[in-house]
């Protein structure tokens, strides 16, 4: 058991690529912290620096009370789960799990005890004598977990451990991982690019963008109070809707209409980006004054049973800041595919959902809107 401290940590790869810039935060003892961010943002790099697989080129990482910058991986008392599992193909499942213990000169009895116990917890006892290639993806994943568990390390480091599983298995393993952590309470640093995984697993979630830590907070806090536009857009599915405009006289004016601003936002703060979560739209029961909602041109309506996702357009050009551009890229889209109008998604009561092609005013819970500076992306 130990906490992990990051103190001004930076990483420049030998080729000159800067992967991490000035990261400072800590993972508390027994805490499950998820590192999340788009592909290539430096999550693995940060994790591997804790593991000792990458040199720490700037700053300091402490595990417990010890600065580990110059401590080799084997002496850091951590165990790692790799994305491709990295099971030793020539060893049986048992030997895969026992390998680290043998190297650490544990007694045969103790090794046997720990491997059997881990196998029991992970329900892989019947495969102990198999080689990894005779296992399914899910079973390999369990073995990889088992190899980490038997070491009883002070921290687990996991690099996208579920990303090679199919969707259904991933959900199942995700909840098992959560249970496992509740049981072992081992400090865990977990890397993923899947924000749903991050939100469901993490005691706290750290969002990284281009090697810079954006925000570390509990999932709900991150969702409710994102520190900037990037975090706001990255966390949540469907993603937060963004509109450009300006604030004056108690109103947010986005060109095609206005919305009341209840909070005290300095007038004349220039161009701002407003963020509205899909669930903060509603279908009004009667006619709604245009200033309390948005003129929407309804497109696709996805009935999900518990609620409905209404895709609609409003008659304003889409706002495009560097953050939004990056979020689009991460979603596999392109700024040029945006079109003339701003596309939005609302999550509404399935019984009240409009029909495709409708023109209507969608209500907005304007007190729940977020505002970000268009220049910096910081929350206002």
């Amino acid at each position: 058991m130990a906490e992990i401290h990051f103190d001004g940590v930076g990483k420049i790869y030998p080729g000159g690529t800067r992967a991490i810039t000035d990261v400072s935060f800590e993972i508390h003892d027994g805490e499950f912290v998820v590192l999340v961010g788009p592909s290539g943002c430096g999550k693995s790099t940060l994790l591997r620096m804790v593991a000792g697989l990458e040199e720490i080129t700037e700053g300091e990482i402490r595990i417990g009370d010890r600065v580990v910058n110059d401590v080799p991986p084997k002496d850091r008392d951590i165990a790692m789960v790799f994305q491709n599992y990295a099971l030793y193909p020539h060893m049986t499942v048992y030997d895969n799990m026992a390998f680290g213990l043998k190297l650490r000169k544990f007694s045969k009895d103790e090794i046997e005890r720990r491997v059997q116990e881990a196998a029991r917890v992970l329900e892989i006892t019947e495969y102990l004598q198999r080689k990894p290639k005779a296992l399914s993806g899910g079973q390999r994943q369990r073995v990889a977990m088992g190899r980490a568990i038997v070491r009883e390390p002070s921290a687990f480091l996991m690099d996208e451990p579920l990303s090679n599983l199919d969707a259904k298995l991933r959900v199942q393993m995700r909840s098992e991982l959560g249970l496992l952590h509740a049981r072992l309470k081992t400090t865990t640093m977990y890397v993923t690019h899947d924000q749903v995984e991050a939100m469901t697993l993490g005691d706290r979630v750290a969002v990284i963008r281009k090697g810079v830590l954006q925000q570390v907070d509990a999932p709900q806090e991150l969702y409710k109070n994102p520190a900037n536009l990037f975090v706001a857009g990255f966390i949540g599915s469907p993603a937060m809707n963004f509109i450009g405009g300006s604030v004056s006289g108690g109103h947010f004016d986005y060109g095609a209409g206005k919305l009341p601003v209840t909070r005290d936002i300095a007038a004349g703060s220039g161009r701002v980006v407003a963020g509205i979560r899909p669930e903060h739209f509603f279908v009004p029961e009667g006619e709604l004054h245009p200033d309390q909602g948005m003129e929407a041109e309804v497109g696709l309506v996805e009935q999900l049973g518990s609620d409905a996702l209404v895709h609609f357009e409003i008659d304003v050009a889409p706002v495009l800041t560097p953050d939004i551009r990056e979020l689009l890229e991460d979603a596999g889209e392109d700024a040029s595919s945006l079109g003339e109008k701003t596309k939005m998604v609302a999550r509404v009561d399935p019984l009240a959902a409009p029909r495709p092609g409708d023109r209507m005013v969608l209500g907005v819970e304007s007190d729940k809107m977020h505002f970000f500076s268009e220049d910096t992306g910081e929350v206002i």
């Binding site: 084997k74 165990a79 990295a86 390998f99």
Partner: protein
């Protein structure tokens, strides 16, 4: 559908091929057991059956056949093992370590290999002579000296082959082992080497067979008859008055090559597999 006709044609082709391949083998086997011991009289079907030719090999004081056989095995075995050890270590470094001159070194190894070793005969000869003045155990006409030259010989190519194989072993296995507590040496022994075994086996056999039949370097560097390898001995054999003893020569050739042929027959599947498969299956 393949027609019966084309199957028949293929079979005929096959049998012709087999006939051509086996004809000399059968001939030499039959000569080795033929009591009539001369080239002119020998034929495909022997006139009788005798093991005298084989027995004779071991009790002719002028022809230390037994020594040659032992020498060949000793040298080929030591050479193949040494070669494998050096090539595997070099391949590990080239595959896993990042050091200055890595690319150049890799290229150099291959380039040097392009020049056949016999181009350097004179240089090798004088080098060994010079070494012999300092360390007589490694000079001319010693097995250790010959081994030294052999070890330099095939390492480049083997290193390349093994490196290519090791490159297919994911680096995350090294990293997992590192986190598990293994030193680089242990990673090599416990993880990389076991996974590279198929290609190591193949290279061992190929190197062994190559050294077993090597004649040129051996005949430049070895002088005294009791130090000869089998290949050298047989060559001398065929040039001397023994050439007339066709049966004895045949018997010697068979005794010399039987183990090699047996190895190939047993290991052929692994040889093909080892050269084509990667380190991590499935």
């Amino acid at each position: 559908m393949i027609s019966r006709r084309s199957v028949t044609l293929r079979h005929i082709g096959l049998w012709i091929g087999i006939f051509f391949a086996l004809y000399p083998v059968v001939w030499i086997i039959s000569a080795s057991v033929n009591p009539v011991d001369n080239l002119a009289a020998s034929r495909l079907i022997p006139e009788g059956l005798t093991l005298d030719n084989y027995r004779g090999l071991f009790d002719d004081p002028l022809v230390p056949f037994r020594d040659w056989l032992i020498n060949s095995w000793k040298i080929s075995l030591a050479g193949a093992i040494g070669n494998l050890a050096l090539a595997a270590l070099a391949a590990y470094s080239f595959s896993r370590l990042r050091f200055r001159g890595r690319r150049a070194g890799l290229l150099g190894l291959l380039l040097v290999q392009v020049f056949p070793q016999f181009l350097g005969f004179i240089a090798i000869f004088f080098t060994l002579q010079a070494i012999g003045e300092v360390a007589p155990g490694f000079g001319l006409d010693t097995h250790a000296g010959l081994l030294l030259v052999y070890l330099g010989g095939a390492i480049g190519f083997n290193t390349y082959l093994i490196k290519g194989f090791m490159d297919t072993v994911p680096i995350s296995l090294d990293e997992a082992a590192k986190v598990d507590g293994a030193s680089p040496a242990l990673i090599f022994w416990r993880v990389i080497l076991p996974l590279t075994r198929p290609v190591l086996g193949v290279i061992f056999i190929i190197t062994f067979v190559g050294l077993y039949g090597e004649l040129l370097l051996a005949s430049v560097l070895l002088r005294s008859a009791e130090n000869f390898t089998l290949a050298m001995g047989l060559q001398q054999f065929s040039l001397s008055e023994y050439a007339a003893k066709w049966g004895a020569l045949s018997a010697a050739a068979i005794l010399g090559s039987a183990p090699i042929v047996a190895t190939f027959l047993v290991a052929q599947k692994q040889i093909v597999g080892g050269l084509t498969q990667g380190g991590v299956k499935g």
